[in-house]
């Protein structure tokens, strides 16, 4: 087991290197650079910068150097000093910006993940056990709707409803009055009154997918001989199902952990933009649009690392949960 983990970690190094290289190259692909996009926003307001200024700024930001030099400066900063560089647009160290957004990102992602599990687990089991019943069909219908409706439409609809019927401040995770306030019961209530929209929206498609997977896996297991044996031995139905087939059908839940970590950064970006959530996704998008390359590059690199780590964790968990994987 230890050797398995060590081997996996070792493989991660070249993968990460390749990832950082590709991430940096992709960011450089669109025409122009950070200054071009800065200039266009300024010109939009009616302002101009003259050529000499632009040239000097370009030199100052190091944008006049070839891509490989820029890459080397960036990657050597990360490796030697843990310095991810400076965000041009925000005028802050990249690491500060990313950490700043991590709290709320974590909160929303975990809350929706828990909701997904809390809803999809019982419904998935119910649907598998009572296949083709009225309840199963009803949930299936709901599930397909959940999969089919784009998240951002759902978000806009719920926002409008909450504006129209509840008269609530929309967007963000706090009302303006509470952003500054110290933690209190009122602030918590305010948080909860805002959180339900993003959590429902983000959880919806995840729930639908998870129900389908669980239903399919569990259905396969239910007809297996060991289940029939357990029933024949007179175990109560509840115990038969929960103790054996459900445990095996749980594999996709565990696998999903691998995707949770990178989702923390990039997941549901469009929803987060529409809902004005202070999560990492909108910041990443802004960085890409503004060609704020060190911020964007670091984000992508971070997502890569998180994906790899998440995969590793879920593989280890699977191996722990399911001996068959360990022995293969």
């Amino acid at each position: 087991m230890l050797a398995y983990v060590a081997k996996r970690v070792l493989y991660m190094i070249p993968t990460l290197f390749g990832m950082s290289l590709i991430a940096f190259m992709i960011i450089q692909l669109p025409p122009g650079d950070y200054l071009t996009s800065l200039l266009s926003t300024m010109a939009d307001g009616g302002q101009n910068l003259d050529e000499a200024t632009i040239a000097r700024l370009r030199a100052q930001y190091g944008l006049d150097q070839p891509v490989y030099v820029q890459y080397f400066v960036w990657i050597s900063g990360i490796l030697t000093r843990g310095d991810f560089g400076y965000s041009f647009e925000w005028n802050q160290p990249v690491s500060t910006l990313i950490w700043d957004r991590m709290g709320s990102t974590l909160l929303i992602s975990l809350a929706s993940l828990l909701l997904v599990w809390a809803i999809s687990l019982p419904i998935g089991i119910y649907s598998a056990v009572k296949r083709h019943s009225f309840g199963d069909h009803a949930f299936t219908l709901l599930g397909f709707i959940g999969l089919a409706v784009p998240n951002f439409i759902m978000a806009l609809t719920l926002m409008y409803a909450s504006y129209r019927f509840l008269g609530q401040s929309v967007g963000g995770i706090f009302s303006p009055d509470f952003v500054d306030a110290p933690w209190s019961l009122a602030k918590l209530t305010d948080l909860l009154s805002h959180m339900w929209i993003p959590v429902i929206v983000i959880a919806m498609s995840g729930t639908a997918a998870m129900i389908r997977i669980l239903r399919a896996n569990l259905s396969d297991e239910l007809s297996k001989p060991y289940v029939i044996t357990a029933r024949a031995k007179g175990l109560p139905e509840r115990k038969v199902i929960l103790k054996y087939p459900v445990r095996i059908a749980l594999n996709p839940f565990v696998s999903s952990i691998g995707w949770v970590l990178p989702d923390l950064v990039s997941g549901v970006t469009i929803t987060a933009i529409v809902l004005n959530l202070p999560t990492a996704g909108p910041l990443l998008l802004r960085a890409l649009v503004g060609q704020d390359m060190y911020l964007a590059g670091s984000f992508i690199l971070l997502m890569g690392v998180l994906t790899l780590v998440g995969m590793l964790i879920s593989d280890i968990l699977l191996a722990v949960l399911d001996p068959r994987i360990r022995f293969n």
């Binding site: 300024m42 802050q92 910006l97």
Partner: protein
Amino acid sequence: MQGFSRRAFLAASTAAVIMPAMPGLARAAPAKEPAMLDALVKAGSLPAVADRLPINPLIVTPLDRVGTHGGDWNSAIVGGGSLSMLFRYQAYEPLVRYAPDWSGVVPNVAEHYESNADATEFTFRLRKGMKWSDGEPFTTEDVMFWYEDIFNYEGLNDVGQNHLRAGGKKARFEAIDDVTFKVIFAAPNGLFPLRLAWANDDQTTRAPKHYLKQFHIKYNPNAEQEAKTKGASGWIQLFQREAGLVVDNEFFQNSQRPVIHAWKMAIAPGQSTDRAVAERNPYYWKVDTEGNQLPYLDRIVYQMVADPQVLLLKAMQGEIDLMDQYIATPANRAVLYDSQEQGKFGLYTLTSTETNEMVFQLNLNHPNEAKRKLYNNKEFRAALSMALDRQAIIDTVFIGQGTISQPAVRAGDPLYNERLATQFTQYDPDAANALLDKILPNKDSEGFRLDESGKRATIIFEIDQARATFLDIFQLALPMFRAVGVDVQMRSMDRSLWEVRVRQGIEYDGTAHRFGGNGGIAAILDPRYFIPNTTEALYAKGWQLWYRDPASKGAVEPPQPVKDALQRYDRVLGSPDPEVQRQLMAEILEIAADQFYVFGVCLPSDSYGVVRNDMQNVPKTMPNSWGYPTPGPANPETFFKA
């Protein structure tokens, strides 16, 4: 802006406007302490208000009535975006500022200024006892620091500041005493006060020496090493970042640097990526007519919103106190109008100061010989212009709102030139065809006209896809051009590509844009469609480059009338006499009418903004411009809530 007050212009550009100094007025009535600062004063950590104000504070007459201290101004910015927007709200404090009606300039940081008879020497007098937001005195030492150690310092002096150049040379500053200094030009610079007041151009009031000198190699020999430990490439980069004079974002992202503005950043954008907060400057140097220190509002709170739709919902809910950027689009007008009652807000009018909704610009300096020749043919451009059914475009794209016009000074302005505004605006495909039959007589099997070499004469307009109205106009205009046999196409592209191809490139057939002044001060300061005075004149960047320096890259020699016009504009800039300026400007417009460089669709109709019912002293109508950074000149420091 309506009209053009010659008296105000005279006051602005010529000598000796002695503003009656009114010392003692503020002292006469003991100024009230804003509640937010009361505790600090009582605790002794802040001097009393009388000691914080200069001897002669600027007395601002509130629009409607004297207000009360306190409250937040709730606002928002979309994305991290361009923070230039913040100049409009909290940071418009040049030496002299535009009058609220944009008829001229009035004293601001300088309590008095005058010029000599030929407009080569301007004397400014600052306010004695005026202080930065940290309590340090603001004197000519700061102005001279900016002049000597930034504007004139090798390595830092890259900033535009064209208002400080005349006769091809930079201005010279001379400090007379603590509060008096002179700006001396090599040649007359009659528009200097008007240009000094332009949005954020004046930097002399934004460079606190006592703070910035720690980053300057001249004052701190270790500046280079210290900058490197802070992750900058050298002292210059750190200095620029700290000073924030080159990149607007950097100006507001620093909450440490003292300012003289009504509000200073407490939580700068970037310190938090969700919101930014500006707090009242305890040392602000303006008072109302009863001697109360301004501003009235304690804070400006900017939520950082990722999407304009969210902002729209927030405005509908009344979470935005005053705003016209981002949300005040023609499309949103109806929905905002409907939700006025629920959101407890009203709408104010923004009068347009732009020349046209959209300006078609053929590249008159195209590197391709055949295309250049074709595009430079005035009759060809006239034919294209007459092929447009402008009323149809107005009815569809602008819901019937808008007056048909070429890019021109609007009617009613003293500079109005009827020929420039109306020539070739009639929809007349027959006349267009008749002209085109002379220029491009041959057609191919599909009915498209061929150029001299026998190839189809195709014109591709390159458009920034973010400009929705341009795309809508082109959808309607393309079939109109094709109906007279000219294969006109539109290529919309991502903004960054457009910047590279059009704003920085030269190999485009044509493009479309807007802005540029349509009257009064705006028309004189930004005449880009009447004369190619900047590279923003995308129809003739080569001519502009040639005029500045015939040897420069991309320079194209302009024809004689264009040279004449450019020379006249130089004389406008140099002349101290407003009557002469007006006369020269009229001649330039006459040349523009002869040349017919570009054509447009219609005058922009007025826009609007959203203001909460409880916001007081907000004008019902304001000019809409970057140069007049709406609502900056309307004294936001006198806005209050009641």
